[in-house]
Symmetry: C2
Subunit: 239 residues, 2 copies
């Protein structure tokens, strides 16, 4: 059954956005009476039936609440250094399927802040990627995409109980992921291609972050978040 994102969904019915309407009516060629699943991105989900099919404003009747997929018991914010091109799309997509609550794009010593127009375009794009990933993986929650921030600022603004920083094994001082205690919320930091600067590691260590390394091999920056999240859920309990 097609999953439809409708942030303002409320019974008895919802008018879909132009984007969702177009996708349903034109791309998927849905018609009146078709069953869909509607989710609001904040954890609520309904069975739905198309009342009016239109490429600009499809109306869906909500015909009963559904039990949403259970969300992880740890609220994870993925703090991830900006990657080039569509690599960030892959990170947002995979992190959504791996249950993060929010994604915090980071600027670092090795990655500068793009100009404002570009920042806005990127955030909008990643929000669309997160919505598409939530549809695909079955989540009723769409992770928030936080504004880009330097790592130090993101760490001090984080309301998480713990911070875990993934480092290259050569950094020294890193521990085993298996020893990371389960907490209610965690900021998980994954670095850019080329790794963190030594200042960033020192700052994070001083701020109480726990350093972990995931094997001796160099992981592509695009893959590292999925590896780190999979390792942490295994320690904390899936999901």
């Amino acid at each position: 059954v097609t999953r439809v994102f409708a942030p303002a969904a409320a019974p008895p019915s919802v008018v879909l956005t132009r984007e969702e309407s177009h996708h349903l009516a034109r791309v998927l060629r849905a018609s009146v009476g078709d069953a869909v699943i509607v989710f609001n991105g904040k954890g609520r989900e309904w069975g739905g039936r198309i009342a009016t099919a239109s490429a600009s404003a499809t109306v869906v009747d909500l015909v009963g609440t559904r039990e949403p997929l259970r969300e992880p018991g740890v609220r994870v914010v993925l703090g991830v250094a900006l990657l080039k091109g569509d690599q960030m799309d892959a990170v947002v997509r995979d992190a959504t399927a791996l249950g993060v609550s929010a994604i915090q794009p980071l600027t670092t010593a090795h990655v500068a802040l793009p100009d404002e127009a570009r920042r806005a375009r990127s955030i909008e794009r990643w929000e669309r990627v997160a919505i598409a990933a939530a549809k695909q993986c079955g989540r009723a929650v769409v992770p928030a995409i936080h504004p880009m921030a330097p790592i130090a600022a993101a760490m001090s603004a984080s309301a998480c109980e713990a911070t875990v920083m993934c480092v290259e094994p050569s950094t020294g001082g890193e521990g085993s992921v298996a020893a990371v205690p389960r907490v209610g919320s965690a900021l998980v930091l994954v670095g850019p291609e080329g790794g963190w600067s030594s200042d960033e590691v020192a700052h994070a260590t001083a701020a109480g972050a726990r350093m972990i390394a995931l094997g001796p091999r160099t992981l592509r920056a695009e893959l590292a978040p999925a590896v780190a999240l999979s390792a942490l859920w295994t320690v904390w309990g899936w999901p």
Copy 2:
């Protein structure tokens, strides 16, 4: 330092293949005297120095053995259902960086065997992907790519001590990855888009495979192997 793959490397020097020679001399514009790292894909590694730079037959002097990256203590064969297009490339690349010993492409109820010419082209392509990934992640071992086989045949031919099958959470009967015992060698089975058939699950169960599920969300088939391997290394100990 550039890593160079030379399966026949042996002191005092090695003539590189045409492919590696071209890459070094033309793409990377290496010249006589440049330092490289030479690995043979079977776990041995040397420091090297270019003696003759040529696009067809570059010669490298081996100037001393190097300690290779340590290999995982569990020999893992990733049995992965064939995926479309370049999705298999991504699986081979990520699995190499995540320390597998071999990759066993599987045909399943949902994925048929391609014709012979296509099979041969695919295997050669994945071998090149595995070599490139070993260069990038720093491994001195290139995982073997086994010939495609139906899952039942691959399971009975497997010389592994244990089999772990990743299933959708809705399958029922699956356990926690955290309870998978450490063994010397394991065949890790990851299914196709759309999942295993019930016959395949029943056959694997009867053959003693351990079923695991990795959270309630649907993972893209391309991502699932990296998630499964990350979870298992976390249980068995990284690397």
